[in-house]
Amino acid sequence: MSDKISLSPEELEKFGEEMDAIRQRVISELGEEDATYIRNVLKAQRGFEIAGRALFYLPPAWPLAVASLSISKIIDNMEIGHNVMHGQYDWMGDPGLNSRMYEWDNVCPSDQWKYSHNYIHHTFTNILGKDRDIGYGILRMDEDQKWNPYYLGNPVYAFLLMVFFEWGVALHDLEVENIVSGKRSLADNKPLYPGLMKKMRNQALKDYVLFPALTGPLFVPTIVGNATANLIRNIWAFNIIFCGHFPAGVATFTQEETENETKGLWYYRQLLGSANISGSKLLHLMSGNLSHQIEHHLFPDLPARRYPQIAEEVREICERYGLAYNTGPLHRQLGSVAKKIFKMALPPKRKQPDLSLVEDADPRVSAA
């Protein structure tokens, strides 16, 4: 085990058991309240969607239409789509809320997203070289990613990724950077194309052809409105997700550190590899409770509405074990992420020998 880990194997095991106990308790409590909650969220989202589409017929209400459609798309992708596709509501037996059948209002096909997100990202969270969400194959987001002049464009790439986020997510599975580096062949992507093309076509058809056409003479305001709603959703989702993994203090791990990983160590890595956003209930809803990224990474398949309640227990456990619990208001986490995007654009300063001594002296500092 790496000396970067601040808990002894015994402590880690106990820590893991405490996490398991939380999980077990919540699973035994799942029932009507959780079902009613997600059904109400779904109803609200459909309501905003229909209202948004309808308001485009009323030209003065254009900003309201865009706002309504944006809210619908954000809730669809985050509190519903992301969470349902994690299997959080599979226990309900409702095909409309089942991880195998749910498809979201996003150009990325759900099955491809579930592979790169549920499997790759949630299994290998923050392991360099394995978790492709670190920088998404485009950005340099960690000091241990080797710098090269391409990364001078880091802020520009981040901005473009934000604006076109849903398209970036859709193309994520094609692993273009691995094709460039020769680790993946074009033929490996072939099975992905039909699903991808179909999903992109259906999404574009709906937002950029059919609904605008249905508003007749208002075609242009409607198409611009739909594009704006997609853009707002993209910016919001990008920022929430980047705040979950890239603020200062989030730890990354090497593959050697995580070989033969125990359950306790797995929880430890999830905890230190994530960051929360503190804020209001509305913020939690609109972020799909990914404002509780830490709890989400510890328990990805528990209904997200449970995270705020679990968070208090997790914090208490962290305090007892002397582990960092990375949380802060949105503006601070955003600032921290932005700073990192700029900082990582530049080549690393040469490491000073006394800094590594400090790190060795107190491993908690570097792990947190």
């Binding site: 498809e103 579930k114 299994t123």
Partner: protein, 358 residues
């Protein structure tokens, strides 16, 4: 209805409601509106028999959505209910009413099985007005369009329901042939449809009804007894439905005759905590002795290559349908015996016999 239905089912509306589909919006307005899905409203719950100390039997009248394509006599339907407002549980029930067309009312008749979540809920707790989820009618255990002159129906217990549907259908079709109806019940007071059967025997054309109660000394089913009742019975088209022991006896008596069609209900297998048993991989037709490890490893050991991801129960890549058997979730220790259940095979260890769609 059909204009509305064709608009609701149109590709244009499908494209506009992509990716969720029309039904995901309609159900929020009125659960009885649907473009593709099938649901039904409970119209009436009628207790057929209610013997003290025994599970009650009820007939439930269902008004399906216009998406229901109708059923043929003898078919069954999968019916799902949300128990306690959360978990939808689905079970199969035979249709007991005569054959009917698209969107028409039909009935199911069921016993409130003491261990059965759904049947107990439907008989004891459900109220008229409640909406349930349906599949389309399924099953090949049906009457042919052109009826033979003489048919034999043999049933036991609640296995009478599909045959009752057939008898009712024949009476509506004013069938001119003979029907020999043999039914085994626990006791006369447990007999469902008793009055209607008596009516049919009295007024029906060529309907012979034999209600038997072996506990009271009535003859058990045997080739000799069948031969006396229906000479040359092996050459008479026969439909039999009931518990496995009765079907075993019928199959022996018919000795491979092609005139026999059967349908039977298997009670769920409970293993009582042992791992001994057989794992069947339904899609590939393979089977292997239960080794006690998780189903993913057992499938791989059998030479299959099921989809998987994290192998630790978090990513849901390996989710597969378990059709029969009991599995323990190795993460939570929770066991579950529901048929047709989606499980993560990487963290599910089977107990006893188990069938998975792999």
């Amino acid at each position: 209805m059909s204009i509305v239905q064709s608009i609701l089912g149109s590709r244009a509306l499908e494209a506009l409601t992509s990716p969720h589909g029309v039904d995901r919006y309609l159900e929020l307005v009125n659960p009885m509106w649907a473009a593709k899905e099938v649901r039904a409203r409970i119209v009436e719950i009628h207790r057929e028999v209610d013997v003290e100390g025994h599970p009650a039997v009820a007939t439930i009248t269902l008004q399906p959505t216009s998406t229901w394509q109708g059923h043929r006599a003898g078919q069954h339907v999968q019916l799902g209910v949300e128990i306690n407002g959360a978990r939808r549980t689905t079970r199969v029930f035979s249709v007991s009413s005569h054959e009917a067309g698209a969107g028409e009312r039909f009935t199911i008749t069921l016993r409130a099985n003491p261990d059965g979540l759904v049947s107990k809920f439907l008989v004891e707790e459900a109220q008229p007005g409640q909406v349930v989820h349906l599949s389309q009618a399924q099953g090949e255990f049906t009457l042919p369009d052109t009826m033979p002159g003489h048919v034999v129906f043999i049933s036991g217990g609640s296995g009478i329901t599909p045959l009752m549907s057939m008898l009712r259908t024949l009476q509506r079709r004013t069938h001119r042939g003979r029907v020999t109806f043999i039914h085994y019940a626990q006791s006369p007071e447990h007999q469902i449809f008793a009055e209607e059967l008596a009516d049919a025997a009295r007024t029906g054309y060529g309907v012979d009804i034999h209600l038997l109660h072996p506990e009271l000394g009535d003859p058990a089913l045997s080739p000799a007894w069948l031969e006396r009742l229906v000479p040359g019975y092996r050459d008479v088209p026969t439909w039999a439905c009931g518990p496995a022991p009765l079907i075993d006896a019928v199959q022996k008596a018919y000795d491979g005759s092609e005139e026999l069609r059967v349908e039977f209900f298997k009670p769920p297998k409970v293993s009582g905590g042992s791992t001994e048993g057989e794992i069947s991989f339904a899609r590939s037709g393979l089977s292997a002795a239960n080794s006690g490890t998780n189903l993913l490893e057992q499938a791989e050991a059998a030479g299959l290559a099921p989809e998987f991801g994290c192998r630790m129960g978090i990513c849901f890549s390996c989710t597969s349908r378990k059709t029969e058997g009991t599995v323990t979730n190795v993460l939570t220790g929770e066991t579950s015996s529901l048929p047709d259940e989606d499980i993560r095979i990487c963290v599910s260890a089977p107990e006893g016999d188990c069938t998975v769609e792999l």
